[in-house]
Amino acid sequence: MTKVVVVTSGKGGVGKTTSSAAIGTGLALRGHKTVIIDFDVGLRNLDLIMGCERRVVFDFVNVINGDATLSQALIKDKRVENLHVFPTSQTRDKDALTMSGVERVLDELRELKFDYIVCDSPAGIEHGAVAALYFADEAIVVTNPEVSSVRDSDRILGILASKSRRAQRGEEPVHEHLLLTRYSADRVERGEMLTVKDVNDILAIPLIGVIPESPAVLKASNMGVPVIHDQESLAGQAYSDAVARFLGEKRDMRFLAPPRKGLLHKLFGTNA
């Protein structure tokens, strides 16, 4: 059974694309046939994060419009078996995503026996975001530990519960998962950021991971290598944990407390 997973947030800049790339890659690393689709028409970024921007010929909009076939547009990841990237158009706008077109593409991907279709949603709550979440079976809501991000995530959860296809058909609701990103244990300790408990109180959905703020994320983006490949970094390890929890495994939450600093760290700073 193919599962459609939307990675969404409402707010921009919280790490949707980074998380889509990391989680999609993580699912493929665990042997699941996975495709990551960029729904952010006009602001194409997933191809950069996945490091396949030089191989884009056709895109999501071309396939929706029937100008290209799915197999022409899907890009096979060079690092991981079973992983495909489906880039979007940089020149069109969100209106190009017709619901019937998106449905047709998803159905074709189901026929190709993908296990997971990861939909990287654009920010906002307008058509593009709704198109990304409409067909979802699972939703990963990416939130930063600060109030505006939490409120926007709350809003998107309301939209999942009312505007998704499952909601409109009265089917079992979309499974919701919370992913807390850019978490800085130091700043939480100083009271500058919301705690995991604060966020949980408001959003009240199961937490699949806390990704610590880490320079490794920026480095990974710039290099076009999803951060989950960097298992030296805390962020990479945290994403691996999140993928495991998403798949139903039990793992203790890590990285919630600030790292203990040794003398050398105090003297030379840390790059973890």
Binding site: D154, G158, A161, S162, I202
Partner: protein, 249 residues
């Protein structure tokens, strides 16, 4: 192709119980009552309960009664009760007969009063009156609305004509409204409005008051006006002596 068809519907409607007195006197006493919440009554459809009003006999009488009611800003749409002769005359005057509501009239016959047929939430009835209907009870026809999940930011829920019961929390940026009481068995972080149609007896109950705004019957308090002492506490919001107050539970 659209299909034209007739189907049944249950609606809430006002009932004006006319006493054995000249219609003009009845209208004067009703005007008094309507002044308390004019927006609630404006252009509201109403039935005339005429069992006690034996003066109303001819079609002419019923036309006059209809015009008098119109003068109050209400619209008479039919009658209830009365003798067969009264019903016939009313029909000629364009007022069809409606079956009596299942629940017996709360007020004693012979008293002029306006009360919605069976469904209307209690409206400041004198305490002495027995068995004033309580909104939200099952079986009395009051539509209360039950919400089992968090009310998310950007969502608005309105329980028309009854109570709203939320078993989870109401998020910041969400709005819950009821014509009756609002019960929240979680935290209230958004806005809650009880007695949306002017019922000053309506209350808001919540387990943790962190609201952006609370309002009963049009009186409201915003976050800034809510005392620090009750922030985050279980609380009831109600009108007492015409003032909106918050009482810790």
């Amino acid at each position: 192709m659209k299909e034209n068809r007739i189907s049944g519907a249950m609606v809430t409607v006002l009932v004006i119980r006319l006493a054995r007195e000249p219609v003009a006197d009845a209208v004067a006493s009703l005007a008094e009552q309507i002044r308390t919440s004019p927006s609630f009554y404006r252009n509201a459809p109403a039935l005339l309960e005429v069992t006690a009003a034996s003066e109303l006999r001819s079609a002419e009488d019923f036309r006059a009664a209809r015009e008098a009611v119109q003068g109050l800003g209400l619209v008479a749409v039919g009658i209830q009760g009365g003798s067969p002769t009264q019903r016939q005359a009313a029909l000629v005057a364009g007022l069809p007969s409606f079956p009596a509501s299942a629940r017996p009239a709360a007020g004693p016959a012979g008293q002029s009063e306006a009360a919605a047929a069976s469904q209307r939430p209690r409206k400041a009835e004198p305490a002495a009156e027995p068995a004033a209907p309580v909104a939200g009870g099952l079986g009395n026809g009051t539509p209360s609305r039950l919400v089992t999940q968090n009310v998310r930011s950007g969502t608005q829920i309105y329980a028309e004509g009854g109570d709203l019961i939320v078993l989870a929390s109401v998020s910041a940026g969400a709005e819950v409204i009821a014509d009756g009481h609002v019960h929240i068995y979680g935290a209230l972080r958004g806005r809650a409005l009880a007695g949306a149609r002017g019922d000053a007896d309506a209350r808001i109950f919540c387990r943790a008051l962190e609201a952006e705004l609370v309002s009963v019957a049009g009186q409201y308090l915003v976050r800034e006006d809510i005392p620090e002492a009750v922030q985050g506490r279980a609380a009831t919001v109600l009108i007492e002596n015409d003032r909106l107050i918050i009482r810790e539970q």
